[in-house]
Amino acid sequence: MSERIWNILVEGFVKIMLASIKVTIPLTVLGFSFAMIIAMFMALVQYAKVPVLRQLSRLYIWIFRGTPLLVQLYLAYFGLPKIGIVLNSFLCAVVVFSLNEGAYCAEIMRSALEAVPEGQMEAGYCVGMNYLQIMQHVVIPQALRTAFPPLSNSVIAMLKDTSLVAEITVADMFMAAQKIVGRTYEPLWLYCEVALIYLFFSTILTFVQRYFEKRLSAYNSRETEVRTQE
């Protein structure tokens, strides 16, 4: 490897990592946090069969799951200013990712809630608890456990999808790489580098997922029995 390439890669590394700290990581964390709040709300109103809100929730999921993320980003950033709604590009990205990811996660949460056996609810009523108490102490904790692996999947997918925000002028990791490519004409090296950095971050998320899955698995794994008996 020539010294020139080496220098480009070092510069690339620094700029891409800076962009990850300034944009990609905050965008993923904020977007996913809001998405979880939206998802929880949308899933609960469907599970509890709340009239009107339940239909609105279906409508929301239908629209945001049924249209491309990139189109949603363009619409929010380039389209909305035409009707007077101007958001800065980062805020725009956070809003679109929250809504898009929220729609997918709502379906994950809804199915996880529905997977909790009916008998859990009945047992709760029979010890004198009310609906909200049962949801809080029994149904939601079990649903979160079921939803955890697919939600982890979603956050990893979302981390990678944030590369789309370069399209609406947000200076994320991918845009940092593109800029250097534009100047140096070394797409092979730089795109490999940025791909490896994405891979690094998603690998961290995979390990975090595994760690928590193990901790959460206490109540549906017989292995713990063996461990405690030893």
């Binding site: 008998g119 709760g124 608890m129 809080q136 102490h137 029994v138 079990q142 794994s221 017989r222």
Partner: protein, 247 residues
């Protein structure tokens, strides 16, 4: 507790055709009957897991219209009753102790230490204090059902309903659950037990009710019921079960 003229149908299928039932304090009543006779539905209606079409309930001198129950009344009655399910229905995300105490800490706002103390006492009663920290999946069926009984006891109910508590268990695990139930009966607990265990009905219960096709065919003190059943249908049923048992 008293039930009068309880009726319930699922669509066109009438499952309970006017059931009258009186339970006095300290009664242990076994409900027998072939499958599909409405025994389980009866218990579920009495504890409002199913909505009855019509009927009257008298509970602690209060009279309720079973066809039009208010949510607050249901909640109030449920706080005085407990239910043991055929398939245990332990809270899967909680330990044995957590299962026993949740009704106390959550529904009755008892402080954690006191609930824990009661919980351990109840687990001890069913012989499982050494399994307090185990999750349901780590326990055998018999142990799970005993935890479920401890959970039922913890809230100090006036009556416990048992819905075929041993039907889902391996034969060698049935004994441990019946032993616990016999102990409860001896302690004076009021129990209404849907069961297929004739020996329990004969030796532990004070009264037996025989149901078929949504009606009570015969009822009486268990000694008389088994020694000299009045109805032809009851005799056939007992004979069938006994032959199966001997074979």
């Amino acid at each position: 507790m008293e039930i009068r003229e309880l009726r319930k149908s699922f669509g066109a299928n009438t499952v309970l055709k006017g059931i009258d039932l009186t339970v006095e304090k300290g009664d242990v009543i076994a409900i027998l009957g072939p499958s599909g006779s409405g025994k389980t539905t009866l218990l579920r209606c009495i504890n409002f897991l199913e909505k009855s079409d019509s009927g009257t309930m008298v509970f602690d001198d209060e009279t309720y219209d079973l066809g039009h129950m208010h949510r607050a009344d249901i909640a109030a009655i449920r706080k005085k009753t407990a239910f043991v399910f055929q398939n245990y229905n332990l809270f899967a995300n909680l330990t044995a102790l957590g299962n026993v105490t949740l009704g106390l800490t959550s529904a009755r706002k008892m402080d954690k230490e006191k609930a824990r103390w009661i919980g351990m006492e109840m687990l001890d009663k069913v012989g499982l204090s050494d399994r307090a920290d185990y999750y349901p999946i780590q326990l055998s069926g018999g142990q799970q059902q005993r935890v479920a009984i401890a959970r039922a006891l913890a809230t100090n109910p006036e009556i416990i309903y048992f819905d075929e508590p041993t039907s889902a268990l391996d034969p060698e695990l049935i004994g441990e659950v019946l032993t616990v139930m016999r102990q409860l009966a001896e302690d004076g607990m009021t129990m209404l037990v849907v069961t297929h265990e004739l020996s329990f009905a004969e030796n532990v219960s004070s009264r037996v009710i025989f149901m078929e096709n949504g009606s009570i065919v015969e009822q009486g003190p268990s000694k008389e019921f088994f020694a000299d059943p009045r109805e032809q249908r009851t005799r056939e049923f007992l004979k069938n079960i006994r032959t199966q048992h001997d074979a």
